[in-house]
Subunit: 475 residues, 2 copies
Amino acid sequence: MSTVQDTTPSGIDAAVAAAHAAADTMATASAGTRAALLRGLADALEGERGTLVPLADEETHLGPARLNGELDRTCFQLRGFAHQVLTGVPFAATDDAAVAGAPPAGRPRLTRVRVPVGPVAMFSASNFPFAFSVLGGDTAAALAAGCPVVVKAHPGHPALSRATAALASRVVSAQGLPAGVFAMVEGASVDVGVQLVRHPQIEAVAFTGSVRGGVALWKEANARPRPIPFYGELGSINPVVALPAAVAQHGTTLATTLAGSIALGCGQFCTSPGVLVVRDDDMSQAFVQQVGEALAAATPHAMLHPGIRSGFDAGVQRVQSHAGVRTLVAPPHGEGAPKGRLFATDAATFIADHALREEVFGPACLVVTVRSIEETVAVLRAVEGSLTVTLWGADDDTADNRTLVREAERIAGRVLFGGVPTGVAVTAAQQHGGPWPSSTQPFTTSVGYAAMDRFLRPVALQDAPQWLVDSSGLV
Amino acid sequence: MSTVQDTTPSGIDAAVAAAHAAADTMATASAGTRAALLRGLADALEGERGTLVPLADEETHLGPARLNGELDRTCFQLRGFAHQVLTGVPFAATDDAAVAGAPPAGRPRLTRVRVPVGPVAMFSASNFPFAFSVLGGDTAAALAAGCPVVVKAHPGHPALSRATAALASRVVSAQGLPAGVFAMVEGASVDVGVQLVRHPQIEAVAFTGSVRGGVALWKEANARPRPIPFYGELGSINPVVALPAAVAQHGTTLATTLAGSIALGCGQFCTSPGVLVVRDDDMSQAFVQQVGEALAAATPHAMLHPGIRSGFDAGVQRVQSHAGVRTLVAPPHGEGAPKGRLFATDAATFIADHALREEVFGPACLVVTVRSIEETVAVLRAVEGSLTVTLWGADDDTADNRTLVREAERIAGRVLFGGVPTGVAVTAAQQHGGPWPSSTQPFTTSVGYAAMDRFLRPVALQDAPQWLVDSSGLV
């Protein structure tokens, strides 16, 4: 396996300085130029699929099927952002004509445009070596918005990161753009990331990873002499509420579907369902039994790296040893790929102990049995912040369902009425970011085309000359 | 003068608890209900103008002309937000139809809605007793967005604040809304504000005031177990760049206009021009002379309160005693209303000393003479963050003007090509918020209709039942 060597402080300086030097070129790059870059990156990724996917598999153990699919997704979103740029999204302006007369009704002409913030530091994730890594969604969104990107490679897949970065630099060069449009730094220690976030010429940070790592870097961003936006997409426990209506109608199918979602990617998704909320009736408890059987039969692949595996084992141990928790599915401990785990508790225990609401990153789920809608609400409120909440069986317009929808919206960025939370579509309507601690900036998304908004700061031009209005204020 | 008594901790708890209890009602209130509330507040303010304006004048010394105009503006923006609500702005959704097939192209239906965050703590400003106070822009924006408001009154105008709050509560009650939709707390110490920001049921904070006070509360918001958005609109020095082209054509008029803007409201505006950047040619220096004469002739009214006055005197002293600063206009020190001050320095001195770039809240301006466009750029970069930058004489499409526009956009939320920065129109295109330290969240605005965005968090509904989509997800 390839080893990671920390980029030197002067190497980080050089990368950011080059990004800073390229910022004006990127900010004023036409839609055509930006789209060509994004499409060129997608084409190059596809062109090098034959070397990149095996490299990724060697470093992540995610398997060629998943990795090919993830590469497809990465190209899809690069091209999707290119399309957004060509339809003018980042260049859109609000133009309010002047109104004659005294204020408050009288006013000058005001044209609201959005200007690219400049160099973005992008922290790759371990669990998506393509889609949330070097040329993943954050990079695509930043380039679409007109911002150079300095990627902090994830130490879990250094060779793949280097190969992807080299590909990106070739595309940037072939398109005649300044080299500083894209750069990558690496490091296994926290120092490299901290230096990057502290760098005075970095203007925003996009991060996907753990709550602990994300909050530490968020504090660094806030502690700068000039704080900058830190868009952290952190951990999440993604409650799934299986209401009796759904269990009665589709219980068997849902049990298989849910177990598949828990085990998918060995549970290494920020949207992995970590909590299942069911009622205390016989049918719901039989459903839990079915989920357990399906999960016991699942054979997840190996985890990304030993650190994640030991974190999973520790999390399982924490839940398993809890006096108020019963173990439903617990395969013998062993080396290699972990098997799925299912635990059970009641609402009061879940609500009373914060430790039960911490993410266990891996194929584990805690069943919380509730006796009423009120207890369901209390369980959701205890979760506080989550990327998703899934409500199965809430399709009818009833008072109870409205209550549940309201509570789900209160704590989540995405509320599902069917399907499973794993799998995050790239669309304009997507919202991948929920209340703290699932995100540091829950008003923004890290997936979907609204992700560009994180890097476009509004500016109102007052009585601007027409040539400037015509260029959307970008000169 | 009315004295301020700190609201007790249990009083603050009760206010926030009532706001929390009213949150669902407000979140699901129809456009008609919200608009009626906003219009009812505007009507009541106008109805009580005869008592409110004299009360405001007694506490702020701003004079009836200004205060009547400010009350007009406050009503205008309440009604403007009502209109925005009626046209559906806070209820707008992005609806992406499902696409059959496998991901990444295949996808579920996703409907992106925005949900009101819940109780908003709103910190009134001293310098706008109506427009940025109890029923000012932040309150209007929060109510329009469907959020209850807990106002922290500014201790500079307690009697006016109480009268306005009483009026608001009467309107809320008359419209059959829960009392918790609006509440006010007060306190002269920082404790009340800190307790409010720390309260677990407060979901966002809007603040207008000093850098010191704002940053302290921003830190409190970030130090909560669950941090919340802190929208702070802080101090700003608002550079005005008078290019030779403008000075040659309109020098005399601009000098009068600028002096009027510096002295307006006794300089107690966040958009007051604190820096004038001019070239080293004779014409520009003669223009500075004209500005000085006009400023010396201006007769500002008294300052808001003795604390602001002593702050102004200290700021003036700091600039005046600087070895690299010449004093152009310095009336003798005296009691009562201060007179305008004009100082001068060169680019290198301005750039070298951070103290010269700190806001002097009051009628003072520092002239910075530059020898080139490059020095102008360097001066703007040294400013770092400002609510506004004004560029007089940058109307032609030249390379130099493009450079200046780019630099102005980099540091400001609003760039003016004519007029003066004081006076902030309430429109959809307005952006009142610039890079740090002028705002804590420069991607948002505290004036104009986009101010609602601060209180509406996006949520994606996946495969939502049609009744929920039809209600914009607000149930």
